[in-house]
């Protein structure tokens, strides 16, 4: 018998992975199991479920049939062994770090991150006793120097929000693994259609599914995907994975679940005790979005490139920071990490600075002025006065969100209409 596994293309998997016909009804579309709790067969069954000796539905905080389909769908598209869904991208970052960190521990993060992540890491995580060490990930020596005996992870975004930057995942994975820690990659902006970080050395992938995966801006959600190849026992750094867990009769997750240990921990401890579960309705909406992910991402990228090329020639524009442009210092990384395209968020500098930017966002008609990305509609925001407002000027500039910077998330409209709208608004803003 051949041991060759049947493989499927991305377009097939985005429709089918995780979603066989509903075993209870034959329903072909994944049903919304809007349900909190599940009946046990008998007392032995209940005991085995609570001891983690058998897997089954107990309570929707831990697992739900609709959410499980989304989890397997994203795990499959990313090439991981398992995935756990949660309420938002912010919750996903807690979920990704919770199995690894304890009070007094630290993780090393790229300074080029979504502003909300910089706030969460730098301020809220202090309440857990977690320290973040922001570094310029273009400087390998700085990354190495930031890692010490209490470091539990290296964190970056694949295509960084607000755009224009692509992390060198292979280099960062090498540094992290040499130090015995995993590389965690936020793949929200790229989606697994454009970039699969696990194939470039990452160990854990994090998503805000709210963005391109859902695609219609209907539903909040987060996801954490484990590749299942990191050796949690090698370094002694990860006692949650290797030491007896008091709340499960001394069960050791890595010993018991091996390459699935991280995912089991996320269900059995993080979801159980922190409780940031995803709503079944949101999982359903996100599954609908993922069914057309590849089609949408191709169009997002095509439109983004057209708009970026137009703006780069525009007299009111100082520069365009989009990795898909040949002028970008990170253009070569598109071919290496996301050859189908550099996604559709990017920034540009407006002549006239802060005031002109505010005028611009007040003058667009087709673009929506709001704080989100990855919608089917095109979006515009002035980061310095909104999403990155809480940061210091130094942090704003390091994150690519200085006072003259406007961020676009290019949608699926007719590209020429988007260009015309920006032209008329820039004329009003810069004069």
């Amino acid at each position: 018998m051949s041991d060759e596994a049947k493989t499927y293309g991305f377009d097939t998997l985005q429709l089918h992975a995780g979603a066989q016909p509903d075993p209870a009804t034959g329903a072909r579309q994944t049903p919304i199991y809007q349900n909190t709790a599940y009946v046990f067969r008998d007392a032995d069954h209940a005991a085995a479920l609570f001891n983690l000796q058998e897997l089954g539905f107990i309570y929707s905080r831990l697992g739900n049939p609709t959410v499980a389909v989304l989890q397997e769908r994203v795990a499959t598209l990313e090439g991981g062994v398992g995935a756990v869904a949660c309420a938002s991208g912010h919750a996903a970052q807690v979920m990704a770090l919770f199995p690894l960190m304890g009070p007094g521990d630290n993780f090393v993060a790229s300074s080029r991150l979504y502003g909300g992540s910089i706030n969460q890491f730098g301020h809220a995580f202090k309440h857990f006793g977690w320290e973040v060490r922001f570094v310029d990930t273009e400087d390998p020596d700085a990354v190495k120097a930031a890692i010490d005996g209490k470091t539990k992870a290296v964190f970056c975004e694949s295509i960084a929000n607000p755009g224009g930057y692509i992390s060198d995942l292979k280099a960062l994975a090498g540094i992290a693994h040499d130090a015995g820690v995993p590389l965690l990659v936020d793949n929200t902006s790229a989606t697994p259609y454009l970039c699969r970080p696990l194939e470039h050395g990452a160990d854990i992938v994090i998503h805000s599914t709210t963005k391109y995966l859902c695609g219609n801006a209907t539903s909040m959600g987060g996801m954490v995907v484990d590749k299942g190849t990191f050796d949690w026992g090698a370094s002694g750094r990860f006692p949650n994975m290797t030491e007896p867990e008091a709340s499960y009769h001394g069960l050791k997750f890595f010993e018991t679940f091996g390459n699935l240990a991280f995912t089991f921990y996320s269900i059995a401890i993080t979801l159980r005790d922190i409780g940031m579960c995803q709503a079944p309705m949101n999982a359903f909406q996100t599954l609908l979005g993922i069914e057309t992910l590849s089609l949408r991402m191709d169009k997002h990228c095509e439109n983004a490139l057209k708009v970026a090329q137009h703006l780069e020639q525009h007299s009111a524009v100082e520069y365009v920071s989009y990795a898909g442009l040949e002028s970008s210092p990170y253009y070569s990384r598109v071919a290496e990490y996301c050859p189908k395209g550099a996604s559709s968020i990017f920034t540009f500098g407006v002549k006239g600075g802060y005031d002109a930017c505010v005028k611009l966002v007040d003058s667009v008609e087709l673009f929506s002025h709001l704080a989100n990305l990855g919608d089917a509609r095109s979006l515009i925001i002035h980061s310095a006065s909104t999403t990155h407002r809480q940061l210091t000027p130094e942090q704003q500039s390091a994150a690519g969100a200085g006072p003259e910077v406007v961020r676009l998330s290019i949608g699926l409209e007719t590209a020429e209409d988007l260009i015309a709208d920006l032209d008329q608004a820039l004329a009003k803003a810069v004069g």
């Binding site: 995780g18 075993p23 034959g26």
Partner: protein, 172 residues
């Protein structure tokens, strides 16, 4: 990166198709090191495999003569009665070092009795013993749990959001 199993060799990896073939062709398993303690993996993994239709023969010299899930625990693999043949697989619930002797005992007692696979549980890695088994034509799995792999490869882990690799539009 060095691993806790000392040799610095990479952790073993196996294709899904290889593991699925083993779990499909296996009918009878000698579970060496099985425990009567219900919270130990060596108990509930063996119990689970029995509920899935495998014939599971418990072997553990320290608990020989006791009964676990309806089977009498044997002291040695050589004590397995001939009417249980063929013994397709030995599942090793011992540490990496002790696994070496278990493999040699299995090859001695069961090679002529249908032995096709030696499976070492999560955390159990013994490359030298694996090489001795493979030299006799016995296939080896190390650092994996047959319960987890069965649940994953046959769709049960789907409910936990694990990647089962199962794609189908047929109703099952």
């Amino acid at each position: 990166m060095p691993n806790e199993h000392g040799s610095g060799a990479p952790l073993p990896s196996y294709s899904d198709a290889y593991l699925k073939r083993i779990l499909t062709e296996t009918k009878t398993i000698a579970a060496v090191g099985v425990s009567r303690n219900e919270i130990r993996p060596s108990h509930y993994v063996a119990r689970y495999l029995k509920t899935k239709g495998f014939t599971v023969i418990p072997v553990n010299p320290t608990q020989a003569g006791e009964t676990v899930f309806g089977e009498t625990i044997l002291s040695e693999m050589s004590e397995i009665p001939a009417d249980r043949d063929p013994i397709d697989m030995v599942d090793v619930f011992r540490n990496s070092e002790a696994a070496g002797q278990v493999v040699d005992d299995a090859l001695e007692a069961l090679l002529e009795r249908g032995l096709r696979t030696i499976w070492m549980q999560i955390g159990v890695i013994n490359h030298e013993a694996a090489a001795r088994a493979e030299a006799k034509g016995v296939q080896v799995v190390m650092n994996r749990c047959p319960k987890i792999e069965y649940q994953r490869l046959f769709g049960e882990l789907r409910i936990g959001g694990f990647n089962t690799g199962q794609i189908s539009s047929r109703l099952r």
